[in-house]
Symmetry: C2
Subunit: 198 residues, 2 copies
DNA sequence: CACTTTAGCGGAGACAGTCTCCGTTTTATC
DNA sequence: GATAAAACGGAGACTGTCTCCGCTAAAGTG
């Protein structure tokens, strides 16, 4: 039933994505990053939309849930953490790699304090949400810990994710300036306590 | 300027607290306990008021904030934890006492899953709120840890509260039935990692 | 028991945040 | 330019928080 080939391709009848959509999406992300950093993860989404100069409907079309927005805002940092895992695993001894990565994790939380609630939600919410970013982090700690287990350096019965949850728990309260030391000490404790020999 | 003493006492002109106030307070607590346990710490307060058969105003007069209500609901358990601290400190070696208390803490979270968000808020919120309950928990872990430090069994540089925060962090996600084991393992890791000798 | 006093009640309603629906506008493509 | 589809945006429904204040009923008094 096809007509002569003067028409466009019948397959993939897609058109180029609209320019204004792309622009709005980026303005929203920009404002959201700033707002989350300034006022925490609970700022009003309508407010973000207003600051971005779009209607609420537009924001919700691009990011159906608060989690989706959070995830996108922090995707970049999460991907960097995932990349670090690959780097560490390739160049360091298992236990050192695990420790280094956990310390890097602390650094990230310290630098952009706001990543903590996001991660908290990522690790805490129903697994359906945050599939993408959550999986990146999960896989990272998982493969680092597994490698250390297989090499016999840490006990085989621990749940890798728990190490991370412990860190996130501590970072939940980004209180005084003494926090970073606290967190780094905790990494030390967790690593030491995870070793096999004892 | 006082008139002759035929009047009631000028000092402490207090009257007996009203019976209905006490009754309402208890009905609210009862419903709140149940609601928090069933649907988490974010249930609507107006809804709790409705279920308790009182107006929103009454609920808010008795408990000005959600935190105040949460605190009162869980005060009993918190006090039991504080009592356990005294008992353990009196009868066990420092390190054992610390471990035992942390395991008890896990048990409490396991039994009444809902205590976790409450504690999370208690430890996480501004220190002003939760003064009472928060201090009970803080003091408990603090004195247990300090005793173990002074006896030289655990490293002197750790922040006692961080141990607790780590536990709360892990308990944030009360996911599968495998959770309790996870948490107990974490206690083990934390204790082992906190010891001095290494 | 009648009477006064006032603690306590409770609901109407102001306010804020979430999220959706749908008429209008803008864009890509022809 | 004409057309169709994609995207916009804001009015508004809905839900939850919290307060104000006129009224109710319990406690105190003789």
């Amino acid at each position: 039933m096809q007509e002569p080939m003067t028409e466009k391709k019948p397959t993939t009848p897609y058109r180029k994505p609209r320019a204004d959509a792309q622009r709005n999406r980026e303005r929203i992300l920009e404002v959201a990053r700033e707002s989350f950093a300034r006022s925490g993860a609970n700022v009003s989404l309508d407010e973000i939309a207003r600051l971005a100069g779009v209607g609420p409907g537009t924001l919700y079309r691009h990011f159906p849930t608060r989690e989706a927005l959070l995830e996108t805002v922090y995707r970049e940092e999460v991907e960097r953490l995932a990349a670090a895992e690959r780097r560490f695993a390739a160049t360091m001894a298992p236990l050192d790699a695990l420790r280094a990565w956990m310390l890097l994790f602390v650094d990230y939380i310290e630098a952009k304090q706001i990543i903590a609630p996001a991660l908290n939600t990522m690790l805490g919410c129903s697994p359906k949400v945050f599939e993408e970013s959550g999986a990146l982090i999960t896989n990272a700690i998982d493969s680092l810990a597994r490698r250390a287990m297989e090499s016999g350096e840490i006990r085989a019965d621990l749940e890798p994710l728990d190490l991370l949850r412990a860190l996130v728990g501590v970072s939940n309260v980004v209180s005084g300036p003494g926090w970073p030391e606290s967190a780094r000490r905790l990494v030390d404790i967790l690593i030491t306590g995870s070793r096999t020999s004892g």
